[in-house]
Amino acid sequence: MASRGISRTELKDGVSHEGFLRHKRFRWLKITLGLSLLSLLVYAFTDVQPRHNGGSWLGYTLGTIGALLILWLTLLGLRKRAMTSGRWSLKAWTSAHVYLGLSLIVVATLHTGFQFGWNVHTLAYALMMLVIASGVYGISVYATLPQELSDNRAEMTKPQMIDAVAKLDRQLQVAAQPLTVGDTEIVSLSLDDNVFGGGLIRRLSGRYPRCGTARALRELQQRLAVSSGREAEALETVTNLLERKLAALDRIRRQLKLRAMLEVWLYIHVPVTFALIAALTAHIISVFFYW
């Protein structure tokens, strides 16, 4: 699990596990800080007339470093498919990916000379910053959410969670048989619920205002309040089942929400990276086209 990569855990045999952020005592963090500091110093002590820009010798240098870094960072997508250990282990790559990616904030910003506008150059910069921001979000959720996911599951597997709902559905089918036609229709609202039916927004927010089970529970509780005798008994059984189903659904939905939060950044990080490489290509070609 990714969560194991973050925290440092002592294993039984005394072999300590080191997350990719702490890899080799923050080796890549140090390299990144060094690179950023060096860029800042050279930037501060270089007199570019009339003002810093991407076209000075420093601008070209920073731009070349930045472009090569972007291409190398993208290669993680290929590299991650082959897990190896050692000096160039995947963990080392990931560590370097994270920290060198952050160094781009300094390198690329200095490359711009703080000149921004509505043009292809600033587009490339903005896309890069978007990729970095999504990556930072990714790091932060990887650091916190896996624990929550694990807590929420409460030792259940995913099929068990789904089965719990299915079991309750079967019980509801039976328990609802004595109900009137109108009441069974209400119970159907719950049975027709598809817990995986919501889109991205539902999953991220974890809010399902049109949840059939919640609605059925509300309405049947009102019926229960005004009914009596055998009908009341049947209604009570059904509402109890609905309450349990709602709890089971909530567990699944929290799981979905956490998973969505854990995964959603990649839907920005990866496609925008390729948009960035396209914009970078246009940026470089345009600069030399109108040189």
């Binding site: 007339q49 009339p50 003002r51 820009n53 076209g55 010798w57 000149q115 506008g117 043009n119 292809v120 150059h121 587009l123 597997t157 995913k158 099929p159 789904i162 509801l172 089918q173 039976v174 609802a176 048989q177 036609v181 069974t184 229709e185 119970v187 159907s188 049975l191 598809n194 817990v195 995986f196 919501g198 889109g199 991205l200 999953r203 799981q255 979905l256 998973r259 969505a260 995964e263 959603v264 990649l266 839907y267 990866v270 496609p271 925008v272 990276t273 390729f274 948009a275 490489i277 396209a278 914009a279 290509t281 246009a282 070609i285 345009s286 600069v287 030399f288 086209f289 109108y290 040189w291």
Partner: protein, 592 residues
């Protein structure tokens, strides 16, 4: 007739459990109600949902009002099918399969529960966001296509389109999206036309593109001397040069100094270092140069070397240059003691007070009583006898009626003639000591004695001409006196710009030591030290930090330096105009 009903369900292990029952008759009721022949427990099924009826070898299905079944794959309220072919009825999650049966034989019906096809795929994989999101790969390809099309292909098409146009059409050209910043204010009009400067693709901007419009600009100096004047190339400089050679970028292009796309601003003032890089050590770089080293106005600037009249070639003044440190004298051919005229006491001051009401003089003469600024205030009008001196220095010699006759200024031969005429026309009144005229004698001798004396007096010490002018004595026996021509440069500093206007807050005499000057040959120009009282180098703590560009221009001409033009006069190139002094005076009087 008989129906054989087979209820099929599955155990937890997936084993099939079949419960059979027989129903006699031609009709079957289907519903959730316990009384129905086919009892379906799904809540989506009505208590009495539908009825199946057998007529011969056909089986018809009819639902209750408002209800549907799925009959052989079609949603229907009623329908029928041939028994020998069999049929399939679905209600909610139940499948009622009517097996093919021969006419009159028993009809077997399988009733089973099926998962609703495709609707509830509840595998563990559904927890991942991939189940609700489009593929990342597809999104990546789409974005790549959009970005390359809009920001690469479209601008290149804009470039090709523009190549077809003779003049840039006022419309959006997609290559504008490549502009890294606004053009300077001077080039705003070119914002829409990248190819005004970027003429060919992948070729760095050339000077030719600049000179298409800037036709009047000239080189700062001979390019070869300029190259030699450059300080020795550092290692880094050599790297830069090698880089430029690699990419075919000639050094010394206009755009190396005139960078563009730096925002809609004016061109930044030229930094002092830009000049001092070469000029601070020019004598070492170019031993044959006539220019002294100059690196900073406050600390390293040669003494001024104004151009003034050093001698005369006949009647033509010859300009020469000399350092003010050598206390040079100007040969203007005029006698004029500034100290006498500016004195607060004495004859001149008295005369100023007497004529004050007529000419606006104060208690004594001041500079402006004789010197008038040019209309733009940059320099001073040339001094003119009639306008600037004649208020006091009258050339009157006779009065005829109410008219005063004056000697003609600037025409010595006419002065001689006028004086002769004056004496000839006067009545030969006997004067004490005059020789008596004898018959036969022309009055000439008598008259000429006075005229000759008067003429000699005018051109001699104490005479009207002599006081101010260099008189050329006539050959012996002649009265053909002549006056040396007078000249003053309007401008002394041709390589540097000086504007009197911004110095208005200063007294004239704080720079020009006129009060102490007893001769017109004194060059009353302030020296370097005098300027440095206020002006220092670019980064000096002086009252007025002054870079080279304040007085000098890289592309120098007679006009004001570009920096001042941009800062003061709204970008209009200008040079001082000399106006008619009398007109200026009248205008000034009217303003008063």
């Amino acid at each position: 007739m008989t129906f054989l009903l087979r209820q099929i369900s599955r155990s937890a292990e997936g084993r099939e459990i079949v419960r059979s029952s027989r129903v006699e008759g031609d009709r079957l009721t289907i519903g959730r109600g316990p009384e129905c022949d086919i009892h379906l427990t799904d809540l989506a099924v009505a208590l009495h949902h539908a009825t199946v009826e057998r007529t011969g070898d056909r089986l018809s299905v009819r639902t209750e009002k408002g209800l549907y079944v799925d009959l052989n794959g079609r949603k229907a309220t009623e329908g029928s099918f041939d028994l020998p072919a069999g049929g399939d009825i679905r209600i909610a999650s139940h499948r009622i399969r009517v097996l093919p049966a021969a006419a009159g034989a028993e009809v077997a019906i399988d009733i089973s529960r099926v998962e609703e096809a495709g609707s509830k795929d509840r595998s563990a994989g559904m927890f991942s966001l991939t189940s609700v999101m489009p593929s990342k790969r597809a999104a990546a390809w789409a974005l790549i296509a959009v970005v390359l099309a809009v920001f690469l292909a479209w601008p290149i098409k804009g470039y090709i389109d523009r190549q077809q146009e003779k003049e840039a059409v006022e419309r959006f050209h997609a290559d504008e999206m490549w502009s890294s910043g606004k053009l300077s204010l001077a080039h705003t009009a070119l914002e829409n036309d990248c190819q005004a400067c970027h003429v060919r693709a992948f070729e760095a901007v050339t000077d030719a593109a600049c000179k298409d419009c800037h036709t009047g600009i000239h080189d700062h100096a001979d390019p070869f001397r300029l190259a030699r004047a450059q300080p020795g190339l550092t290692t880094w400089g050599k790297v830069e040069l090698a880089f430029k050679e690699t990419f075919d970028i000639p050094p010394g292009r206009c755009v190396e100094c005139h960078t563009e796309h730096e925002g809609a601003t004016q061109m930044a003032p030229t930094a002092q270092r830009f000049c001092s890089d070469c000029h601070a050590t020019l004598e070492e770089q170019l031993p044959d140069t006539e220019l002294a080293n100059a690196g900073d106005f406050g600390t390293a600037h040669p003494e001024f070397q104004p151009a003034f009249i050093t001698r005369w070639d006949g009647d033509r003044p010859v300009l020469g240059r000399a350092s003010l440190a050598r206390n040079p004298r100007e040969d203007s051919n005029l006698k004029f003691p500034h100290d006498l005229h500016l004195s607060k006491t004495g004859g001149v001051a008295q005369m100023a007070r007497r004529l004050g009401t007529d000419f606006g003089f104060g208690d004594a003469l001041v500079c402006k009583d004789c010197h008038d600024a040019t209309p733009d205030g940059v320099r001073f009008q040339p001094v003119n006898m009639e306008a600037d001196c004649a208020m006091c220095h009258s050339l009157a010699f006779d009065r005829v009626g109410g008219t005063i006759r004056t000697l003609r200024h600037g025409e010595p031969e006419q002065v001689v003639a006028d004086l002769r005429d004056f004496y000839r026309s006067r009545s030969p009144a006997p004067r004490a000591g005059a020789t008596r005229r004898r018959p036969g004698q022309v009055g000439r001798a008598f008259g000429s004695v006075g005229a000759v004396q008067a003429i000699r007096a005018v051109f001699s010490q104490g005479g009207a001409c002599y006081d101010c002018h260099q008189v050329v004595a006539p050959p012996p026996g002649s009265l053909a006196f002549d006056i040396r021509p007078v000249a003053f440069p309007v401008r002394y500093m041709h390589k540097g710009w000086f504007d009197h206007k911004p110095h208005e807050t200063e007294e004239c005499t704080s720079c020009h030591l006129a009060e102490k000057s007893g001769a017109a040959s004194d060059l009353l120009l302030p020296d370097l030290a005098s300027c440095r009282e206020c002006h220092g180098g670019e980064s000096a703590r002086a009252e007025v930090p002054s870079g080279c560009a304040m007085c000098h221009d890289y592309h120098m001409d007679e006009g004001a330096p570009s920096m001042l033009i941009r800062q003061r006069v709204g970008g209009k190139k200008k040079d001082t105009v000399i106006a008619d002094t009398a007109t200026l005076r009248r205008a000034a009087a009217e303003r008063r």
